[in-house]
């Protein structure tokens, strides 16, 4: 399991975080309970299995929703 912190462009509505949360949770290899989208800091935090999923795929799922990823950080857990 890896721990990822993804910084997004400012989120404008709390419902945006709902969208991102359900999109990230639907990716296979993501620990569903670990997904946390912070409205006030516009950050996504999650744990994922790096053998079946890459950080790029996660970023892509978020950008596909129309949110800009500024930077992401992956650390071993």
């Amino acid at each position: 399991m890896q721990k990822a912190t993804i910084q997004l462009e400012t989120l404008v509505c709390p419902s945006c975080s709902m969208k991102i949360e359900s999109a990230v949770k639907s990716l296979p290899g993501v620990n569903k309970d670990s997904v946390k989208v912070s409205f006030s800091t516009s950050k996504v935090k999650l744990d994922f299995d790096s053998t079946s999923l890459t950080i790029e795929t996660i970023e892509k799922a978020i950008t596909a929703l129309g949110y800009v990823v500024i930077k992401s950080q992956v650390k071993p857990q």
């Binding site: 419902s15 639907s26 006030s40």
Partner: protein, 617 residues
């Protein structure tokens, strides 16, 4: 393609605004119907593109978002050939989002300033002994780092060589530089004002004190109150409900105009965003002023505090007691002194420290069987003699006879505001020490401000004798003072007050008061930004600065009422809109969207007032 459109939102807003202006001008001034309708159609299509994309993306992850409502409404308007409305609604929606993003960035500025203080690089000693600049993430515990004048300390650690002055404002809120020499602890995010240091990394990244503070502030800003969780749940079902309602209205009345107007009016906006905005701005203001409010629940409770309970030692007083008066009831002063000094040097109790400091260096003795009596003192053996050092109740427990003279001295010492330490050797009283702990400067003014902030009960609890506590209470203008309190007594005292329906805040040093801190509605620890204090309390005052207490309380009150204002604005707007769609002639989709966006901006701007909040009492 989709991403390209989304990334061009700002030019799209501008273009659609210009097209709308062109449309209206050609209708009013040139009476050119075709050009007018043409530019409005173009504006609508341009404007709906990014909204529709986001609506589609949301539906794909099974969320009925506000964009879904707007897309349907605009398509409906298009369908009934009301191009004016479709153009204006898309424009207002996009322009509103643009303004919201701008203003929201403002409310978050405080936390941003904080995270920008985080160090980014470090000079790390490589295997060849050279220092190379690396990213701060590449620093591991145990690495040797070089910090030059003007640079940020990259991680928490200890000085191994060199000395200098460090500005620790980012951690403690105190701007006066602190002198650091070998073995001094240094903290990530602080700035070396002069000198050069080599430090060894002890804690890195999010584990540093600075990293923890940032994480706590972020968590606090995101924490949700009961009301917010309700609103979140509510809005999850609310948007689909609005959709169903408008479809029903459309089918029943055959009035598409009315149906799509309901869609736009029903957009949840101000309600969902109002409370988080106040929360973020309020907590941000605190962070900037060295106050950590841990979440909106804490803000709610703190704002209604009517009783504040203070621990005396280290909170109201400097926590650095000194021996002020001494009487010996024996000729052999030297041997009593050395016995007391040897026994007390084993204790960490502040009174013990004061005694050791006062007595200075004495003959070394072997101390056996030391027993600490909680809330009483200490009993030990030296050379077969039983020595008890402690308060009057310990003497009673030990059945020590207190002569008339001794009682008179005890009374006088207490009158002077001393804490008493009595010494008995083999059952006879040998010495009486009076120890006083000076009151912290500025405490009196702070307490008066708290009173003006409508805290009715200001109470001091202490393990010291009643005389000492009374003197402190009288000098500071406290409403109640209770002495002879063991840690257990303090927490049951707080439990009693809570049972009586008071909202209680407890202010303590965070070390031996943890039950009281946990039990009170609001626990405020005064432990100079130590880990324990930061973790256990609800409100953290950086650098144990008692003077920040009124700002903290005032801010909590201001934030709580700001949230309430925002809820009133949001609910009020929805009610007015809904009423006017049914009972007035002037309501249409464009006005609905305008009012809707305006109410969102209103709650954001209202929340922004908190950024500049200053306590005024």
């Amino acid at each position: 393609m989709q991403r390209w459109i989304l990334s061009k939102k700002n030019p799209i807003v501008l273009a659609s605004g210009l097209l709308i202006a062109l449309g209206f001008m050609s209708e009013w001034f040139f009476h050119n119907e075709t050009l007018a309708i043409g530019s409005l159609i173009l504006a609508s299509m341009l404007g709906i593109a990014p909204i529709a994309i986001q609506a589609y993306q949301a539906l794909r992850v099974k969320v009925v978002s506000i964009e879904v409502l707007v897309t349907i409404a605009v398509s409906g308007a298009f369908f009934i050939r009301n191009f004016e409305e479709s153009a204006i609604v898309t424009f207002l929606f996009l322009f509103g989002a643009f303004l919201e993003q701008r203003t929201l960035n403002q409310t978050r500025s405080a936390i941003k300033e904080l995270t920008e203080m985080a160090p980014e690089s470090a000079l790390k000693k490589m295997d060849d002994g050279e220092f190379v600049e690396v990213d701060v993430d590449e620093v591991d515990v145990g690495d040797i780092l070089l910090v030059k004048t003007g640079a940020k300390v990259p991680v928490d650690g200890f000085v191994v060589t060199g000395e200098g002055y460090i500005n620790e404002a980012s951690i403690t809120g105190e701007a006066v530089p602190v002198h650091k020499k070998i073995e001094s602890g240094v903290y990530a995010g602080t700035i070396l004002e002069n000198g050069t240091l080599q430090i060894v990394a002890d804690r890195v990244g999010e584990d540093t004190t600075f990293g923890r503070i940032i994480e706590l502030v972020e968590e606090a800003q995101d924490s949700k109150s009961e009301a917010e969780r309700f609103i979140d749940k509510f809005s999850k079902y609310y948007t689909p409900a609005v959709l169903i309602l408008s479809i029903l209205v459309g089918i029943l009345t055959k009035d598409i105009e009315l149906a799509i107007t309901i869609l736009v009016l029903g957009c949840p906006g101000a309600l969902v965003i109002g409370v988080p905005v106040s929360n973020v701005a309020g907590i941000g203001n605190g962070a900037k002023h060295g106050i950590l409010l841990k979440g909106s629940e804490v803000i709610g409770d703190f704002s209604r505090v009517d009783t504040m309970v203070f621990d005396k030692t280290g909170t109201l007083t400097q926590g650095n007691p000194k021996v002020a008066d001494v009487v010996f009831f024996t000729e052999d002063v030297a041997s009593v002194k050395s016995m007391v000094a040897n026994i007390e040097s084993e204790s960490d109790h502040p009174l013990a420290k004061a005694l050791v400091e006062h007595l200075g260096v004495t003959e070394k003795l072997v101390v056996e069987r030391t027993e600490v009596v909680k809330g009483g003192g200490i009993i030990a053996s030296i050379d077969g003699k039983r020595i008890a050092i402690g308060n009057v109740s310990l003497m009673n427990q030990e059945q020590i006879f207190l002569s008339e003279n001794a009682l008179k001295d005890i009374h006088n010492f207490e009158q002077n505001g001393n804490s008493l330490v009595l010494v008995s050797v083999d059952g006879t009283l040998k010495a009486l020490f009076g120890i006083r702990d000076p009151i912290r400067p500025g405490v009196k003014e702070v307490l008066q401000k708290l009173k003006r902030l409508k805290v009715k009960n200001l109470i001091v609890l202490s393990g010291d004798n009643q005389g000492t506590v009374n003197r402190v209470a009288k000098e500071l203008g406290l409403t109640e003072a209770h002495g002879h309190m063991l840690p257990g007594d303090k927490s049951s005292f707080i439990a009693d007050f809570i049972a009586k329906g008071h909202i209680v805040a407890f202010v303590g040093d965070g070390v031996n008061d943890s039950p009281s801190l946990a039990l009170a509605h609001i626990g405020i620890a005064m432990g100079s930004g130590t880990d324990v204090a930061i973790e256990t309390s609800d409100v953290v005052l950086m650098n144990s600065d008692f003077g920040r207490l009124p700002h903290a309380l005032g801010l909590a009150k201001a934030t709580a009422s700001n949230m309430l204002q925002n809820i009133v604005i949001a609910v009020g707007v929805v009610l007015v809109l809904l009423a006017s769609v049914f009972f007035s002639e002037w309501m249409n989709m464009s006005i609905g969207m305008l009012v809707h966006e305006a109410s969102i901006l209103a709650v954001i701007v209202n929340g922004m007032r908190l950024i500049r909040y200053r306590v005024r009492v």
